[in-house]
Symmetry: C2
Subunit: 298 residues, 2 copies
């Protein structure tokens, strides 16, 4: 796996080889293997660990484990503590969403303060499949099926090209130690159902299911990218800057077919779902306003 | 279900109410329910049944059943016989693909000869989910995940908005009789695995999984439609008519990003997968020709 990892970095993320960055490390097998692979590849990494204080002594032992790993690999470490429960309550977020916000905010501050250029997270191909299936179960569009992005604004996920099985095998071969995530069985009902009941059957459907899924993700991301470029072009024609906003000709919009599909693409970045926009179009004569969290259509 | 069916037709396929057409009827519960719903809605239908002669006396009994159904509903019937095995051997097709070709060729001839305007097939939402999962297991792009199209060149599938459970329930409530498909358990390994092992777990992931999947299919079809419109526009700029073909500037192609995604969209209708086109671009200087089944790039 080391050779495949190094080739993958050289080909797809060469910027990781020339500048220093962070590996987000929980202490679980994925992020510990990622840290090992990065140091072996000669990348200049620091470990960053968030202690969310959600699992009592387990949280403290995870933190201690990451400290020791950094010493063992002889690299810098950054550790922070959050009162996740308090933040979630204050911002009316689920614990999971609160942890996510806190983590990514801290990464951004850390990169800025320490002059680091990138953050790596250890999401892998099975994570991406689980996300695909969760989004599918809820109803979704092409972005929801395009999986976890390999590169989103400096947060890079080089293990998305690898499966959980490959990562585990590498850890065992190399005698790498890790911490089992004690939250796994308790809080991640949906992911566990998918992991233990759904994915094994999917893998039985085709001998190279996971590899085929990886290709599907690439195809869908490319289609999503093309759609997004096209939408940007359309906007240049349709959205005419006007005061602090845009003036948009309703009759031009109404010529688009399939109308709802186009409206979704054109207005999603402003927090409007196409139903809002449809309503605005239909009531355009009445002067009614339609609001999203951040914008309004008048 | 009758009311929902009638509303669905009036809203989405009003053309079915003004002209006569065909209902493809195997004798299975889906197509028999479809025939009943159509006559109740007042649509002017004939039944069309293909006897593929693949299942001995079962095939003959299916044919007899459809004849009686047409008499009972007091509508015209068209029945044809195929030597499917011979056709498959002669055209080097799988039995399933051969049956499919024979069926759709015959429908086209029948529509032409009898001056009928449409064919209905009884594919439903669960069929669409199974197709989605089969394509997913093989690796696919947005079209492969857009499911069975509700309307493809006059072949219309009005039951795609309904689930297998709804259709069965309607048949039982109305005392409708049907023939069990004896090929089901033998030849359709993949579909049966999906139906009995995969879909039940998916449905446990979300209380309205199937309805959410229906929305996903609509979103994906709309995105695919927009992509296809955009590709058509791009082609008008990039493909310059020249002799019997087109002249395409390689340097304009090479500016497209993501290149492979664009090449796939631009060349798929000519039977080229983007890898062929990539090869052609890279070897363009050498004068090498790249062939698809129907076209060549020189």
């Amino acid at each position: 796996m080391f050779t495949a990892f190094r080739d993958h970095i050289e080909k797809n993320f060469p910027q990781l080889l020339s500048k220093p960055g962070i590996v987000a490390c929980s202490g679980g097998v994925d992020s510990v293997v990622l840290a090992h692979l990065c140091t072996q590849t000669g990348m200049q990494i620091s470990l960053a660990h968030c202690n969310f204080r959600l699992r009592g002594s387990d949280s403290e032992e995870d933190e201690l484990f990451v400290k020791k790993l950094a010493e063992q690999l002889d690299i810098p470490q950054f550790i922070t503590h959050f009162d996740t429960n308090e933040y979630a309550a204050a911002h009316k977020l689920s614990i999971q969403m609160a942890a996510r916000e806190l983590r990514y905010q801290w990464f951004a501050e850390l990169m800025d303060k320490e002059e680091l250029s990138w953050v790596l997270t250890a999401h892998h191909l099975d994570d991406s499949l689980e996300t695909f299936l969760i989004n599918l179960s809820r109803g979704t569009g092409i972005e929801g099926l395009s999986g976890i992005p390999p590169d989103s604004n400096g947060i890079i996920r080089p293990l998305l090209a690898f499966s959980r099985a490959e990562i585990l095998q590498y850890a065992r071969e190399q005698g790498i130690k890790w911490r089992e995530d004690s939250s796994n069985e308790e809080t991640k009902y949906l992911r566990n159902k998918i992991r233990h009941e759904l994915v094994p059957v999917l893998k039985e459907l085709h001998p190279t299911f996971l590899e085929n899924f990886r290709k599907t993700q690439v195809f869908l991301s490319e289609s999503a990218q093309i759609l997004s470029d096209y939408t940007a072009q359309l906007k240049e024609n349709l959205f005419v800057p006007y005061h602090q906003g845009y003036k948009i000709s309703i009759s031009s919009l109404q010529e688009l077919d399939p109308l709802r599909g186009y409206l979704y693409e054109l207005f999603k970045e402003y927090g409007f779902h196409s139903w809002n926009v449809m309503e605005a179009l239909l009531t355009a004569m009445s002067g009614k306003e339609i609001h999203s969290k951040t914008h309004r259509l008048i």
